[in-house]
Amino acid sequence: MTIQVTVKLFGALRQYLPAGSSFNSCELTTAADSMLEDVLGMIPIPEHKAYLVIINDEKINREDYTSTRVQESDEIVLLPPIKGG
């Protein structure tokens, strides 16, 4: 059993989108019992890159990545640190 989620990468993180993605998002298929950490593991972002995760407009703390279950049609947003523009 699998589910599909939308992952959106903004700013400098966009370079880590899989080939064939749209401007800033991709659809990922994952096991129905996947945790957030499993989905993040599918995106090749280097470990030293900081980012913030927001699922359906809720900020997810880093310590909750392993215990947050993703749901069908979730929008998972990864934000790089804000920098002055």
Binding site: R14, Q15, L79, G84
Partner: protein, 611 residues
């Protein structure tokens, strides 16, 4: 060393232009650009003087690395008492003008007095002369550059000019160089207009010397190689931040009533890259300032069928487009999601010489005044000044640029405007300067940074971003803001840009370049102390100008109205918890005045603390 060790001093009242030696003791203590220019300003003028009077001075200052091969080494600053704020103003610009001024042989250009009739300053190396500006007074920045280029026929001559906004003393008029780079903030262009100096035309052929060029270039190359994360900035520019702040909930929207903008996706990097229904793409290419290896600048075109320009072919060409701050101020701040309208208003800012952040912030305040009925179509001359109206944005921007109709009220800046119409709380400003594109509720450290910025609300005077991104908890915020203010003060005095810091450089990379350029021992401690000295000196200027603790605050909305959405939903800025700690860390008393011990430690005792 990479200082030219010379100043050009121009007295507009007498017409004298003379070359003086640079005070090298001050250069060692204040480095250059922001620090050194501010030191001269504090020493030479009464900070209590009216910013639009002859007593105010206008200083164009380069840094030791300006004009060198260090990446981004093209920066200069305009330092004066701000027409918008009444505080010390230091407005930083890129382009090619700064390097050219340095090549003419000057670290600083000090302009004093005021001219009876409009003039411009023509500099070619040691030759400097004031010329009759009748032919360009009343012209736009773009027309001025074109006319004087035709006259001098030197494609390498660079210009820093005011447009009609500066001539008309618009409180947020800026100084524009190289057509679309600007010393934008605090109304430095109004000071230039009050002095009746239209433009500075400069050509330099001297280059920048260095005691050991081979060693310097080796270090420059090593440091440049560490700028490993710049592709995103080159490709998408600063406007890429639009999605990030919007999703985070720190994108000021409709005069900070909201912190997320439903139209952000029509104003972001993707929108700039993507053809519209007519097949028109906003972004043409990117652009770099002198010596820059990032190239974050946007060169854009307005859709020629768009209502703003369909009958104005002069705006169909490519020019400086929306950066993140411009896209916020002329977009979410006024509730407009029309990228062509915002680009047009941005073109007007470059053409007529206005700070887009303050223009957008002032229009946003006026739109809220209109919304609550404090102003009506009677005051606006029939314009329906409603949030979200692209037509109103374009029309009111034109009127402000030209100093006509209700545009004269917008040109006051939002503080004076909101006071005039009886609702001072609706001005989203600190020290009279409009907010940049971050909300101080989801970004608590930014709230403190705005409140304590010496030049008024500013996003480039501290670096609380990463900590704010991590947490809204208060512990640690004051220290991060204080330390990063000192670091930024140092970088702003070097001749380099802040952006390499977001593209891979560390603070030590900046220090290494300064040490290589200045032939001295520039340790981390000296770097931090120099920045701290500059910050405290700016504070001294402001105290003598009559500012005090009461000016280190935020609008009522940010302190009392909780954010309505985003990661900071339900929060107000807890400035009262951060400010006392900030003062303590700064070595200031409870009233925000540097103590004698602090001044002595930083070598600032010679300048009186209080008015």
């Amino acid at each position: 060393m990479s200082w030219q060790q010379q100043i050009l001093r121009v007295n507009l009242s007498t017409g004298d232009c003379k070359i003086e030696p640079l005070n090298m003791e001050w250069a060692e203590d204040y480095l250059g650009q922001r620090g050194l220019g501010s030191k001269y300003l504090l020493e030479e003028m009464d900070p209590a003087a009216d910013p639009l009077s002859a007593e105010n001075k206008l200083i164009f200052a380069t840094g030791p690395l300006t004009g060198t091969m260090a990446s981004t080494g093209g920066r200069y600053s305009v330092i004066t008492k701000g027409a918008l704020t009444g505080a010390i103003a230091c407005s930083n610009s890129g382009g090619k003008f700064g390097a050219e001024l340095k090549y003419a042989g000057y670290d600083l250009l000090i302009i004093e007095g005021e001219s009876e009739n409009p003039v411009y300053l023509h500099i070619e190396d040691d030759k400097a002369e004031l010329c009759d500006a009748t032919e360009v007074w009343g012209k736009t920045v773009w027309q001025t550059e074109e006319l004087l280029q035709q006259k001098y026929r030197d494609p390498l001559m660079r210009f820093a000019s005011i447009g009609q906004a500066g001539e008309n003393l618009c409180r947020f008029a800026c100084v524009v160089n190289d057509m679309h780079r600007a010393a934008g903030r605090s109304g430095v262009g109004a000071v230039m207009g009050a002095k009746k100096i239209k433009t500075i035309a400069v050509r330099g052929t001297k280059g920048v010397t260095n005691a050991n060029p081979a060693a310097f270039f080796k270090i420059v190359n090593e440091v440049n190689a560490r700028m490993t994360d710049r592709d995103g900035m080159s490709r998408d520019g600063t406007i890429d931040m639009m999605d990030v702040t919007n999703r985070f909930g720190s994108l000021p929207t409709r005069n900070n009533r909201q912190v997320q903008f439903e139209g952000a996706e029509k104003m972001n990097a993707e929108a700039m890259h993507t053809p519209n229904a007519n097949g028109h793409t906003n972004l043409v290419t990117n652009a770099a300032c002198f010596g820059c290896t990032i190239g974050c600048g946007r060169i854009c075109k307005i859709d020629p069928t768009h209502f703003s320009v369909k009958d104005k072919p002069e705006y169909h060409g490519a020019s400086g487009g929306l950066e993140y701050e411009t896209a916020y101020a002329l977009g979410s701040a006024v509730g407009v999601d029309d990228i062509d309208a915002a680009t047009y208003a941005g073109f007007l800012c470059n053409e007529y010489g206005m700070d887009p952040i303050s223009l957008g912030g002032s229009i946003a305040a006026a739109m809220e005044l209109f919304d609550i009925g404090a102003i009506t179509e009677k005051e606006t001359g029939g314009i329906k000044l409603e949030f979200g109206s692209a037509e109103a944005l374009c029309t009111i921007s034109e009127l402000t640029a030209k100093g006509e109709g209700f545009g004269k009220d917008i040109a006051l800046g939002s503080k004076r405007l909101a006071e005039k119409y009886g609702h001072p709380d609706l001005s989203m400003t600190v020290k009279g300067q409009e907010f940049a594109a971050y909300d101080g509720r989801s970004m608590q450290g930014m709230g403190l940074a705005y409140a304590t910025s010496n030049r008024g609300a500013c996003h480039l005077r501290a670096d609380p971003y990463e900590h704010d991104f991590e947490t809204t908890d208060i512990p640690g915020k004051a220290e991060i803001v204080k330390n990063s203010q000192d670091e930024v003060s140092f970088i702003d005095s070097s001749g380099l840009c802040l952006f390499p810091g977001g593209c891979g450089w560390t603070l030590d990379d900046y220090r290494t370049l300064v040490a290589a350029a200045c032939d001295g021992e520039w340790s981390e401690e000296r770097m931090q102390e120099t920045g701290e000295r500059i910050w405290n000196m700016e504070r001294q200027f402001n105290l003598k100008a009559g500012l005090s603790k009461k000016d280190d605050t935020l609008p009522k909305r940010i302190l009392e109205e909780p954010a309505t959405s985003g990661t900071g939903k339900g929060l107000v800025c807890r400035l009262d918890e951060m400010l006392p700690e900030y003062y303590r860390l700064r070595g200031w008393d409870e009233e925000g005045v540097p103590t004698q011990d602090t001044l002595q430690r930083l070598g600032l005792l010679s300048t009186p603390v209080t008015p």
